[in-house]
């Protein structure tokens, strides 16, 4: 019995999130305590189950659950090391974000709707992480789109609704591309589980019909590129930052953009396999596009005066490093990209938490209003500083590790131009983060004092999550050489799954 339960852990973890969502919807707006209990219970239970799976995978177990959905099509959940990287990231950050969101939104309206969809959104993300074939991936990918929409428009004002429309327009379009690609893939090779290094049947098919295989690959990538915010499909992301801070944090760090980037990894590595994707000539184009996005996002971030908008463009830039690492090929660049999947998540979630703290505690949204805020909110500002320096890529923080592996990986592939992109990104990140830090710490606070004077730091529930994730930014870099750091796990993924690279 317990063995059966153990084998069904992927399903259990997914069900936890769905049940949490259902319970929260059923509870309604008023019952705050029960809702909080369910929120935290769901997040903790899921985290424990994922941790159990991590332990199992370390011991060499495999978790795979499959059952037929349609004739010739099955739903498949599988926990390989790559899946668990993303699942672990989403579980940990979900717990932290839940705590934050409770403190942030418990006093506003429509809480049941918010937290219900919040849970559904995480369930979908988890499904994407553990999807074992293209159909399952598509299913949860679409579910994520629908679950996030109510979160983006949560505030309900016209700007939020407009952003929501933009978001839906982009992601549904991307979803259509992914759907078409998946259908074409099934038509060509039938039901095939994701296979590390590429599905053999796909390789065979590509030999017979390279044009069709290329077209389907482009289609699949176009579908996930929307969520990954690759240029020129990134427009929705800066607009979507009208959402409340916890949603932005989740969107930018875990759920949506990461789902896209994760999709790029899955499609290139586990459907086609890097060698085939390179042979079809798609990866160089993807690498070029990712590099353009890196620079474009940073340049646009420079011109923003709204803190969250600047962070949003920064996400556009930073997330593309993941696609870049995958597209470059080679073990080191892939390690860099996969580690950055986690690193970017913890860094960006910290930044959004802090932006939320400034907005919630002092009503500050614009960068030029941050003068002297370091003295008023030292802990929040310290967390912001750590994450911002990490984004710049300053050692010993997480971002430096990503940059190091991407750089040496690119050079190992003979792509020296990437070093130029990394250097440019460092400069641009410094150019748009250092002035913010200067305002926070060095400039004098406004003579009239901050609005809402009196209180000191942000509320505990807002502060502690930010401090925790900031500590994670530091530790992910400082302890990078250990086996359980994001880098260590990424190395394990590549060692186990892609020895052929």
């Amino acid at each position: 019995m317990s063995a059966l339960l153990y084998a069904y852990l992927p399903l259990g973890a997914l069900a936890t999130a769905v049940v949490t969502a259902a319970a929260i919807f059923a509870l309604g707006d008023a019952r705050r305590r029960q809702r909080t209990f369910w929120n935290l219970f769901g997040a903790t239970a899921k985290l424990l189950m994922v941790a159990a799976m991590v332990g199992g995978v370390l011991e060499g177990h495999t978790f795979a659950v499959a059952w037929p959905a349609l004739p010739g099509v099955e739903l498949r959940l599988a926990a390989d090391p790559l899946a668990l990287l993303f699942a672990m990231l989403s579980s940990v950050l979900w717990l932290v974000t839940t705590v934050y969101a409770i403190a942030y939104l418990e006093h506003s309206g429509q809480r049941a709707r918010f937290f219900g969809f919040f849970s559904l959104c995480v369930a979908a993300t988890f499904g994407i992480a553990l999807a074992g074939n293209a159909f399952t991936f598509l299913l949860f990918y679409e579910m994520l789109t629908l679950a996030t929409y109510p979160l983006v428009v949560h505030r309900g004002h016209p700007a939020a609704l407009a952003a929501g429309r933009l978001y839906l327009a982009h992601t549904l379009g991307g979803g259509a591309a992914l759907l078409a690609g998946t259908v074409a893939l099934y038509a060509a090779v039938g039901e095939q589980p994701f296979t590390a290094g590429g599905i053999p049947a796909v390789a065979l098919w590509a030999e017979q019909a390279p044009a069709a295989a290329t077209a389907v690959l482009v289609l699949l990538l176009a579908g996930v590129a929307v969520k990954a915010a690759l240029f020129p499909l990134q427009g929705w992301l800066p607009a979507a930052m009208v959402a409340p801070a916890p949603v932005s944090a989740l969107l930018h760090a875990v759920a949506v953009v990461k789902a896209g980037a994760f999709g790029v990894v899955r499609i290139i590595e586990d459907v086609y396999g890097y060698p085939l994707a390179a042979e079809l000539g798609v990866t160089p184009a993807l690498a070029g596009l990712a590099a353009v996005t890196v620079v474009y996002g940073s340049v646009r971030a420079l011109a923003q005066v709204d803190l969250k908008r600047r962070l949003a463009f920064s996400t556009v830039s930073q997330v593309s490093f993941i696609s870049l690492g995958v597209a470059l090929g080679g073990p080191l660049a892939l390690i860099g990209g996969l580690a950055h999947l986690v690193h970017q998540g913890v860094m960006k979630i910290t930044l959004f938490f802090c932006a939320g703290n400034y907005a919630e505690t002092l009503g500050i949204h614009r960068i030029d209003a941050l003068n002297g805020v370091g003295r008023r909110m030292p802990a929040t500002s310290a967390a912001f500083t750590v994450a911002a320096l990490g984004m710049i890529g300053l050692p010993p923080l997480a971002g430096f590790i990503s940059k190091w592996y991407l750089g040496i990986g690119a050079l190992a592939q003979g792509q020296a131009w990437v070093v130029g992109v990394l250097a440019a990104s460092t400069l641009l990140n410094a150019a748009y983060f250092l002035p913010v830090l200067r305002r926070i710490w060095l400039l004098p606070p406004p003579a009239a004092g901050f609005p809402g004077a009196g209180g000191a730091e942000a509320h505990r529930g807002l502060l502690i999550p930010a401090l925790l994730t900031a500590a994670a930014v530091l530790l992910a870099g400082l302890l990078a050489a250990t086996a359980f750091s994001p880098l260590g796990w990424a190395e394990r993924i590549v060692e186990r799954g892609y020895p052929g690279l």
Partner: protein, 557 residues
């Protein structure tokens, strides 16, 4: 965990720990500990404390200073301690004291990290942290002048950092996070050697203050508080030398072109900075230019070692002795400039004479080391330039004494006087001891009658020039050269150019689209919005087309 090598962590951790005590009630204790913390650097010199390996930290961290690192640790311990003592003493109740002390502590810790690092990633980490931590020191006064100095400093430093990052990644691609002892050989055999050496030279040239990349120094030193300037000028700039020495293929192979270029750049820096510095009107600016000038000579030493592989050992020893001499003297001079007493000139006198290179002083010793390394045809070409540099340095020091001799008046806390006196006293003997250890024979060479006379000539010439200048001061008008010479005109010209450009655009016939920077960004924003509405339908269309194509291809033959 009783590995004696753990002591290597003390120089990094002690200042940070002391800084952590600065808040709250333990504040006096923290301040006292802070002043003593840099002395832990001496622990790293104990025999048996050689190498520490922390495989779990960062990317497999290794600590363990090389010979140059040890010499500079011996320098950093007293100079940083004196600077911190100066900052702590008599500063109670001053605005932003804790901020200043914390920034000083972090900078010191990072500097110690640079000196101790034995692997590529740690060196890069410590160097970048040091660069960033020095910014609040430069901008400490929070005046527009200080912020401008900070902006110029950080702008140049971050640009340099990008070059360093590229170099570090190029190295890591070949050898992973290599031990620094392996790096010179890695560079020597690197596929992109020329580019790599160029990046290393350019990346650290900003910190080393090679003209024309010295502009930040001339702005930062007068703007920063005195202890910060002392730290910057005596120690931080030398981190660049350490980095060059460890990363360049010195002793591995000769790179005559790069070597000659570096020697030329160094000597020209030295001459140029002495000349421009003499025209300055503030003592701290004069000292800043003096640092540029002296760093030029040190840069030339690195160039000599790069020029001829056989010169490397002697150049290394000479570099250590020179760095020690300059660090102690310059630290003492900057701190002395922060004294208020009417007779502060007496504190300045000895280090100033040493920098001028008076025979028998440590300056003469340092220059003798430089000359000894010279040799060869490059050495022959060097000789007259070195003479000129020595003479001009003497003039510069005379200018300093002229400007700074009389303090504004006021009592100096005992701690501050002690800090200056300790550095002056150490400056008299320290470099000789180092020379006895590192370069046997150098002291004897410097004290030969012939060498003494040779050293005396430029000093006398410089003194005569200076005396003439003082005698003719009513008839002589020094040219007005702004601090940082080219940077201010360049910034002004840039602003003017932008303004003129904008005006020019406005006067042009009304085009529908004007590609100015702001308009381009606006355009990007507008384009994005338009794309937003198009993207969805576009993606859908693309999807359908591709799907049709794919299905067609599938059902085909």
């Amino acid at each position: 965990m009783s590995d004696p090598a753990l002591l290597l962590l003390a120089p990094v951790l002690a200042p940070l720990a002391a800084a952590a005590l600065l808040g709250g009630r333990l504040q006096p204790l923290g301040a006292g500990l802070l002043a003593a913390a840099p002395l832990t650097a001496l622990l790293a010199l104990i025999p048996g404390v050689e190498a520490l390996h922390l495989p779990w930290l960062l990317l497999d961290t290794r600590l363990g200073p090389d010979a140059l690192g040890r010499a500079l640790l011996a320098l950093a311990a007293p100079v940083a301690a004196a600077a911190l003592l100066f900052a702590v003493a008599g500063s109670r109740g001053q605005p932003r004291r804790r901020g200043l002390l914390t920034a000083l502590a972090v900078t010191t810790a990072a500097l110690m990290g640079v000196l101790l690092a034995a692997d590529l990633a740690s060196l890069y980490f410590a160097y970048a942290a040091m660069t960033l931590a020095a910014y609040p020191l430069v901008a400490h006064a929070r005046t527009p002048e200080a912020f401008r100095a900070g902006r110029v400093y950080l702008g140049m430093a971050v640009l340099a950092e990008a070059a360093v990052l590229a170099a570090v990644l190029l190295l890591a691609a070949e050898g992973g996070n290599a031990a620094l002892t392996e790096v010179p050989a890695l560079v020597a055999g690197h596929e992109h050697r020329t580019a790599l050496v160029g990046l290393i030279l350019a990346g650290f040239a900003v910190k080393a203050g090679v003209v024309p990349l010295h502009a930040w120094l001339a702005l930062a030193h007068p703007a920063a508080p005195v202890p910060a300037s002392a730290l910057l000028s005596a120690l931080l700039v030398k981190a660049a030398l350490v980095a060059w020495w460890r990363l360049l293929p010195i002793g591995e192979l000769a790179l005559p072109a790069f070597g000659t270029a570096l020697v030329a750049a160094g000597l020209l820096s030295s001459l140029y900075a002495s000349l421009v510095g003499t025209a300055q009107r503030r003592a701290k600016t004069v000292l800043a230019y003096s640092t540029v000038s002296q760093m030029g000579l040190l840069t030339a030493l690195v160039g000599l070692a790069l020029h001829r592989a056989e010169a490397a050992p002697a150049a290394g020893a000479a570099l250590a002795v020179f760095a020690l001499h300059h660090g102690l003297a310059k630290g003492a001079l900057f701190l002395a400039c922060g004294l208020q007493g009417r007779r502060r000139g007496w504190y300045l006198l000895l280090p100033a004479l040493a920098l001028a290179g008076l025979p028998g002083s440590t300056g003469a010793l340092a220059k003798a080391g430089l000359k000894q390394v010279g040799g060869g045809e490059l050495g022959a070409a060097l000789e007259p330039l070195l003479l000129a540099a020595s003479a001009l340095t003497t003039v510069l020091m005379a200018r300093l004494l002229y400007l700074a001799w009389r303090g504004p008046g006021g009592a100096d806390p005992a701690g501050r006087r002690l800090a200056v006196l300790a550095l002056v006293a150490l400056g008299l003997g320290g470099p000789w001891l180092a020379a006895a250890q590192l370069a046997p024979g150098l002291s004897g060479y410097a004290l030969q009658p012939k060498a003494m006379v040779e050293a005396l000539v430029p000093v006398l010439a410089g003194a005569l020039l200076a005396a003439g200048g003082v005698a003719l001061r009513r008839h002589l008008r020094l040219p007005r050269i702004p601090e940082g010479d080219w940077i201010k005109p360049a910034l002004l010209a840039g602003a003017r150019l932008r303004r003129a450009g904008r005006r020019g655009w406005r006067r042009l016939p009304a085009w529908r689209w004007r590609p100015s920077g702001a308009a381009l960004l606006r355009g990007a924003g507008a384009l994005e919005q338009r794309l937003a509405s198009v993207a969805a339908s576009g993606v859908l269309l693309l999807a359908l087309l591709l799907a049709l194509a794919a299905l067609g291809a599938l059902t085909g033959p």
